[in-house]
Amino acid sequence: MIKYPSILPLKIESLNYEAGGKQLIKNISCEFNQGKRYLLLGPNGAGKTLLLRLCHGLLKPKSGKVMWSLDKDVKPKHHQAMVTQRPVMLRRSAYANIDYALSVRGVDKAQRPDMINAVIQRTGLTRVAHKLATVLSLGEQQRLAIARAWVLKPQVLFMDEPTASLDPPATHSIEELIHEISAEGTTVIMTCHDLGQAKRLATDVLFMFRGRIKEMSSADAFFTGPQNDLAQAFLDGQLIWWKRRPDKDDVQI
C-alpha cells in the first residue's frame, strides 16, 4: 500500500500542446483522483497519448499546468511510472531490467532480490527471468514493462495502449495485472481502443476528440448513455461518417 504522502489529486489546468504548427491538445482541464482506473477513449489522433505524456512530464505543454498535490519531501516523478504501447527493454536480462529501475530509485541492493523475485512471480515471468529482455515475446515484454513499473510501487501508473497487438490470452493476463495493481491503491490512467476492455477495466472514462475532452464521467454513466453526441457516435461505431446534429453547435470540429 502507499506509504508516502499522496501526490494525488492530479489537476490539469488549461493545458495546450502544439507541434509542427498544429495545436494538438486544446485547453484541457480535468482532475484525476486516487485509487481509480481512468480510461482515455477516442479515435486515433484524439490526443490521448499526448495527454498521458504531458501528465507524466515526458512532454512540455505550450501553456497550462500539470499540478500534482505537492509535498516538500515528495518528488512527484518518483511516484509515477509509465508503460508504453511498444515496451522499451534495456539490453539486459528481464531480472536486470527490473533491478535497474529499483537501483535508479535508490532501493538498497540487499532489498532488491526479494522485491524483484516477488514481482517476477506475480507477473508470471519466472521462466524467462534470466533471458535477455529483447528476445522475449511481445506479450512477455509487456508484462516485464508492467513488472518494472509495478515494482516501484507507483501511486500513478500511466499505460498507453498496453494490450495493443497482443493476443487474447496475453491481453487477459495484462488486464488481470491491471486489476491487481489497482487493488493495491495505484491510480491507473490508460488509453485503449477496445471498448470491451474499457468496460472491464474503467471506473471512469475520459472521451477525447481532436485534442479536447468531450466527456468525463463514470464508466457506468458513459457506457449506458453518454452525454456528448460525439461520444455516443464513437460507442455506436459511427464516428467516421457521423454528422453533427444541427442543434449541437457548442463544439468546433
Binding site: 507524466h56 512530464g57 515526458l58 518528488k75 516523478k77 518518483h78 511510472a81 509509465m82 508504453t84 522499451v88 534495456l90 539490453r91 539486459r92 536480462s93 535497474y100 529501475a101 535508479v104 530509485r105 534470466h130 533471458k131 535477455l132 528476445v135
Partner: protein, 234 residues
C-alpha cells in the same frame, strides 16, 4: 613458384621457432598499437558520448568533420606529426621524433576519429531507443551515460577493434615519424615494407602471417565473448 613456396615454409618455420628478431618486432608493434588504442579510447569514448547525448551549436559540423577524419590518409597524418615534432616544429623541444612515442601519437590521431564516430553512432541509436524509458524513470544524466555505455559494450568493443585494426596495419604515418629504426621503431608493417624491398621474403612473409593471426585472433576473441553472452541469455 618453388622459391615462393620455400619462402613460405621458411616463414612458417620462423614463426613456429619464435625467432628472436621476429618476436621483437611483433611485441613492439603490439605494444605501440595497444597503447595507441588505449589512449584513443580514453579520448574517443567520452568525446563520442558527448556528441551522441548532448546538443550544442556546431555539433553537426563536428560530426561531419569526424566522419571525414575517419578516412584521413595516414601519410598526411605522418607528415603533420612529423612537422609538429621536428626540431623546428612547436613540439621539437621534446625530442620525440623517431621514437615509439611519436608513432603512438600518429596512431592515436588515426584511431580517435574511427572510435569517436562508431561510439557516437552506437550511443546515439541506443539513446534514441532508451530515451523515453530513462526520462520516465527520471534517471540522472550520469546514470544514463553509464547505462548506455554498459548496454552498448559489445558494440563499443567493435569500435576498439576497428581502431586496433587501423593502428596495427598502418604503415605510412609510422614510417615517417618512426623512421623504421632497427630495435627501436621497426614494427611489423614497416619491417614488411623494408624486407620486401630488400628481397627478404621470408621475414616479410613471417611478419605478414603474424599480422594476419593477430587480427584473426582478436576478432575471434570478440566474437566468442558476444556469442557467450548471447547464449547465456537464451
Amino acid at each position: 613458384m618453388n622459391d615462393l613456396w620455400q619462402a613460405f615454409f621458411k616463414a612458417i618455420s620462423l614463426v613456429v621457432t619464435l625467432d628472436d628478431k621476429l618476436l621483437e618486432i611483433v611485441f613492439l608493434s603490439l605494444r605501440l598499437s595497444l597503447s595507441a588504442v588505449g589512449i584513443a579510447l580514453l579520448i574517443a569514448l567520452p568525446f563520442g558520448a558527448v556528441l551522441a547525448l548532448t546538443k550544442f551549436p556546431g555539433r553537426r559540423i563536428l560530426i561531419v568533420i569526424i566522419n571525414v577524419f575517419m578516412g584521413l590518409p595516414p601519410v598526411v597524418v605522418g607528415l603533420f606529426v612529423y612537422l609538429l615534432l621536428s626540431r623546428s616544429g612547436p613540439f621539437g623541444v621534446f625530442g620525440l621524433l623517431f621514437t615509439p612515442s611519436a608513432m603512438i601519437i600518429a596512431q592515436v590521431i588515426l584511431v580517435v576519429p574511427i572510435v569517436t564516430a562508431i561510439t557516437r553512432q552506437v550511443l546515439e541509436e541506443l539513446h534514441h531507443e532508451y530515451d523515453e524509458l530513462l526520462r520516465s524513470l527520471d534517471v540522472p544524466w550520469y546514470r544514463k551515460v553509464t547505462a548506455l555505455v554498459w548496454d552498448a559494450r559489445f558494440s563499443l568493443s567493435t569500435a576498439a577493434l576497428a581502431g586496433f585494426g587501423r593502428a596495427i596495419s598502418e604503415v605510412g604515418a609510422v614510417m615517417i615519424v618512426g623512421g623504421n629504426i632497427d630495435h627501436l621503431t621497426r614494427v611489423m608493417t614497416t619491417a614488411i615494407a623494408l624486407e620486401a624491398r630488400k628481397g627478404d621474403l621470408v621475414m616479410a612473409l613471417a611478419l605478414g602471417l603474424v599480422l594476419l593471426a593477430v587480427a584473426l585472433g582478436i576478432n575471434l576473441f570478440a566474437y566468442s565473448i558476444t556469442e557467450t553472452v548471447k547464449r547465456r541469455h537464451q
